[in-house]
Symmetry: C2
Subunit: 345 residues, 2 copies
C-alpha cells in the first residue's frame, strides 16, 4: 500500500508542489493510501456561495444542477466550484481505515461522520445524484470520498437531528475559540451577535465571562436582536451599523462607562467592519475576526492609524474539540436549540 502525506499532497495532479486545496486537479481514485480514510458518502452540504452560483447557472433546473456538479467533480477530482473557489462538507460512513492510522485515530469502520475540512480539497467520486434539497444546499448522492490524515471531522451525535448537528458544526470554530478566549469578568462584544455563529459565541461568552463579566450583543436589525433578547443570550443588546465605526464606538462607550471591551468577536459577514471592531476594544484589548469578509490590510493599517495596541487574531475555523463544544451548546440550551431548529435545520 502506498504511503501518503498527512496533507494529501500525494493526490495532487496539477499543478505539482501545491496542496490539495489550491490544486486544479487531484487524484480521486478510491484505492486508499496507508494514512487515508475511505468514506461512503451519503450527503453533500454544498457551500452556500457555491450552491447559489450553481443554481443560477442552471436557472434552477434540477437536471442541469446535477450535470454541473458531475462536471465539477469529473474535471477536478473534488467538488470545488471553479467560480467561487469554495466547497462545502459531507456526511457519510467510515468504510475503510488505512493501516498507518490504526491506533492513531479514534474512528472505527461504520462510524457516521461529517467532514469538517472543505470539499474544495477532498477527493470525491459521485456515482449518482439521488436528491437535491435546493432550499438547504444539500445533495444526497451515491459516492465515495477520501479523508486525509490531517483532515478534521466530527462523529455525528446520536441524540441530535442530523440537520441541526450539521448547521452547528458549520460554524463550530467561532464558539470554541470564544470559549478559549473569554475569562471571568471580561467585557465581550459580539458584532453580528444575532447571526448563526454569533449566537453560539454569545452563549459561550456569557458562560465564561460569568456574573462579573458583561456580554454585549451588537446586531443590525431590531427584529433579529429581539430574538436574542428573548433567549437571554447577552447582558446588553445594541442595534448599530457595524460599518459605522464611530457609531459603534460611541454606543459601546456608553454601555461600558467609557471602558470599552476586553474582547471583540466579529461574526458579521459584511465588508468594512474592521474599524468598528478596533474602536470597540480597549487599547490592549483582543479582537477575534471570525468574519470571512475581513480585509487583512484594513485591519492592520486601521489599528495603526488610530494608535491602538490591540491584538488582532485571524479566526481559525478549527480548534481542538470545536465540534464537541458547539454540539454541546445544543444540549445545554433548549432555547438556542429551538432557535437553531427553526432557522437553520
Amino acid at each position: 500500500m502506498k504511503k501518503g502525506c498527512p496533507f494529501g499532497t500525494h493526490r495532487v495532479i496539477e499543478p505539482q508542489g501545491v496542496l490539495p486545496q489550491p490544486a486544479l486537479k487531484i487524484d480521486n481514485t478510491m484505492d486508499i493510501y496507508d494514512n487515508e480514510i475511505l468514506i461512503d458518502v451519503k450527503t453533500l452540504n454544498i457551500d452556500s456561495a457555491s450552491f447559489t452560483q450553481i443554481k443560477e447557472e442552471a436557472q434552477g433546473d434540477l437536471e442541469k444542477i446535477k450535470e454541473i456538479m458531475m462536471n465539477i467533480v469529473e474535471s477536478r477530482g473534488k467538488h470545488q466550484n471553479p467560480v467561487t473557489g469554495s466547497g462545502g462538507m459531507l456526511i457519510g460512513t467510515v468504510e475503510k481505515i488505512g493501516p498507518a492510522l490504526e491506533g492513531k485515530t479514534p474512528l472505527k469502520v461504520g462510524d457516521k461522520i461529517a467532514t469538517l475540512v472543505s470539499l474544495s480539497l477532498t477527493p470525491l467520486k459521485i456515482q449518482e445524484i439521488k436528491e437535491i434539497r435546493k432550499d438547504i444546499d444539500q445533495v444526497d448522492i451515491v459516492g465515495k470520498a477520501i479523508l486525509f490524515e490531517s483532515g478534521i471531522y466530527a462523529v455525528m451525535p446520536d441524540d441530535l437531528p442530523e440537520n441541526l448537528a450539521l448547521s452547528v458544526l458549520d460554524v463550530a470554530g467561532a464558539p470554541a475559540q470564544t470559549a478559549k478566549l473569554v475569562k471571568p469578568g471580561d467585557t465581550v462584544v459580539v458584532i453580528g451577535g444575532a447571526g448563526k455563529s454569533g449566537m453560539l459565541c454569545l452563549y459561550e461568552a456569557k458562560k465564561r465571562a460569568g456574573i462579573t463579566g458583561k456580554v454585549i450583543c451588537l446586531g443590525h436589525s431590531e427584529k433579529s436582536i429581539e430574538r436574542v433578547r428573548e433567549a437571554g443570550l447577552a447582558d446588553v443588546y445594541l442595534t448599530a451599523d457595524a460599518t459605522n465605526a464611530v457609531e459603534v464606538m460611541n454606543k459601546i462607550k456608553e454601555v461600558t462607562n467609557g471602558e470599552m471591551a476586553d474582547i471583540v468577536i466579529n461574526c458579521v459577514n459584511v465588508a468594512n467592519t474592521e474599524m468598528a471592531s478596533i474602536l470597540a476594544a480597549k487599547d490592549d484589548g483582543l479582537i477575534y475576526f471570525f468574519s470571512m469578509a475581513t480585509n487583512f490590510t484594513k485591519a492592520a493599517l486601521g489599528a495603526e492609524g488610530v494608535g491602538r495596541d490591540t491584538t488582532m487574531i485571524v479566526g481559525n475555523g478549527y480548534t481542538k474539540g470545536h465540534g464537541e463544544i458547539a454540539l454541546q451548546v445544543m444540549r445545554e440550551s433548549q432555547t438556542l436549540r429551538k432557535i437553531y431548529e427553526e432557522l437553520y435545520a
Copy 2:
C-alpha cells in the same frame, strides 16, 4: 477653542461619519482644535507605492511631480494618493500643542518628530515644495500638518542620522512585536528574514530566544542570506521559495528534528506565503503575519484545511514603544547599523 475627537473625525468633510483615513476630503485649515498638535513640516516621506505611481504619471518630470502632489493635497486636504490609496510619513518640528493635551503628552514645542501615522489621514498644507529626492521618495517642503490625539509619532534621536532613523521607524512594528512574543527557548522562523523588517525581527528574536532557543532565517536568495549570515543574525539559514508550502515545511522539519517552530514571523511582501507559514509552525504554534500581502481568507481557510490549531495574528504596525525598540537596535548592533546605512539610509 474647539474640542476635537481623538481620532480626528471632527476634520472629516466628506463623506460624513467616517474616519479621516477613508475620508475623501478632510479639513486642512491650520487652526488647531484643543487636542491637536501643529507641526512645522520639513520633509515628507512618500509611501513607495504612491511615489512610484506619481513619478510614472509625471514621467519623471520634477515640475510635474510637484504639480501632482500639490493637487492631491489641494483636493483632499491630505497627501493620500487617489490611485494607490496610500500616504507615507513626515518629519517636522512641534509648533503648537492643544491645551487639552497639556500634561498628557510628553511632547514639547520645538521637538523634532516623525509621525508614524499615515499621511493618508494627516491634515496637511503645502506652501512650497523645495526639493524632491526621487531615489529615496523624500520631498522637502514648507508647510504645516496636524497630529491627532491618537496619532503616533517618534521623537527623532540626536545620536542617529535622520535617514537611518527614518528607515528603521518605517518598519518599527515588526521588531517590537517580535520582542513581545518571543520567549527564552523558543524556536522562531522569520520568513523574509533578509529583508528590511526581517533583519530587525531576527535580531530581536535571537536576543529573546537566547542560547536555549533557535532562530531560523528563511530567505529567497543565497545572496541576501549571505549578508545575514555574515552579520550572525540567526542560528540557522535557509533559502526556500516561501510560496512553496511543502518545500518550506520539509526544510523547517529537517532543521528542527521534526518539531517545527513555536513562532513564525512572516515579513515577506509576496502573495501566497500563508500556507508555508502555517506548515512551518507547530500545531499549537503562533504565526505573526507582518506582510501586507497576507490574504485573510487564505490564512483562515488554510489552517482549517490542514487541521492546524495555530494562533494567527494580524501584524499591527503599532505597539507601545515600537519606535524606541527599533531605534535601540541601531545602537546595540554596529553590524546591523552598517547594513541599514548601506541599504536603506
